[in-house]
């Protein structure tokens, strides 16, 4: 069945690939990013906003809900990384990372939940990372912000369970996008060496997990964190 989906961070990277994939499957997708959108499709609408902007997020979700009467799936993909030794990281950098990764996910969840409760149905999927599970050095704020997203996932799963809304998170291993452009080859290899299955990840690997969480039959699966590549926390 046609799903009404909100996917954040759809200008490039995984978000763009996911949006295109679900559009190809015939679903309706509303996406957002700080810069102008990059997807042209009759079932796609783009909202230019910062996911940490409370008002803009509320407006976007309301506009999507009004247009289609419901939101079935939320994929909180927008995220930024930051690699730096924590001793030389400015506080502004901490705020930036937490604003996008945690507050952004939080705001979308809060607004979308209000729409989902009316239908007593919803699938929310957040993005974490193996950097959190592996406690990767040099990624204090990125990992900490995703730890916050994981707590958000687990706690909200309890608060939303009664409404037929599930909340889960996917934690990719390195997948070649701009996000990890600046990370050295050695460092990436070091992560891959710690995986049970030693290769880079792909968009298809992520989609497979999303499809599972999104499935109507996954109504009994909530509060779960699934890492790719055989990583455990």
């Amino acid at each position: 069945m046609k799903q009404v989906m909100i996917i954040t961070g759809t200008r490039k990277g995984l978000g763009a690939a996911l949006a295109n994939h679900y559009l190809d499957k015939g679903h309706i997708v509303a996406g957002c990013s700080r810069s102008e959108g990059s997807i042209e499709h009759e079932n796609y609408s783009h909202y230019q906003l910062d996911v940490a902007d409370e008002k803009a997020v509320a407006q976007m979700v309301r506009s999507v809900a009004r247009k289609y009467g419901r939101v079935d799936v939320l994929i909180n993909n927008a995220g930024i990384a930051s690699m730096n030794h924590f001793m030389i990281t400015p506080a502004s950098n901490v705020s930036n990372v937490f604003n996008t990764n945690y507050i952004g996910s939080f705001l979308f969840m809060r607004e979308v939940s209000k729409v989902m409760v009316r239908k007593k149905y919803g699938r929310i999927i957040n993005f974490t990372t193996v950097a959190k599970a592996l406690n990767l050095e040099g990624e204090t704020n990125y990992a900490a912000s995703k730890a916050a997203v994981e707590s958000l996932t687990k706690v909200s799963a309890k608060e939303l369970g009664e409404f037929g809304i599930t909340v889960n998170a996917v934690g990719p291993n390195p997948i070649p996008t701009d996000l990890i452009n600046s990370v050295s080859k050695d460092k990436i290899q070091n992560i891959i060496d710690q995986q049970a299955i030693k290769r880079e990840g792909t968009v298809e690997d992520v989609i497979h997990v999303l499809d599972f969480f999104m499935d109507k039959n996954s109504s009994f699966i909530s509060g779960q964190i699934m890492y790719l590549g055989g990583i455990n926390s």
Binding site: E54, Q59, R62, K114, V117
Partner: protein
């Protein structure tokens, strides 16, 4: 505006009352407790109530309000005590946002 808001609040209470088979909400008047002593809603119904009122305010008045804001949570006297205190609080919120 005050009348309009009152109607929004009572209509929403009515809707939730029907849905949850809650007589107190169906027969609500200004003094009916929402989430104060002798509360007539559990926390889940309160969440629904807040989001339905936000939506109705937007639909009827084209104003975006976030009802559960920092101020509401930290207020000494919760605005969610009774229908009357809630309606006053909502009126204030809308005036502040204009």
């Amino acid at each position: 505006m005050a009348e309009n808001l009152e109607k929004i609040v009572f209509d929403t209470l009515q809707e939730l009352g029907e849905e949850t088979n809650n007589k107190a909400l169906l027969n609500a008047d200004k003094d009916t407790s929402i989430y104060g002593p002798g509360r007539n809603m559990d926390s889940l119904t309160l969440v629904r109530f807040i989001s339905e009122v936000e939506e109705a305010v937007y639909d009827n008045m084209n104003v975006e309000v976030v009802i559960a804001n920092e101020k509401a949570i930290s207020m000494k006297h919760s605005p969610f005590r009774t229908v009357a205190t809630f309606t006053d609080y909502l009126k204030q919120l809308i005036e502040d946002s204009q």
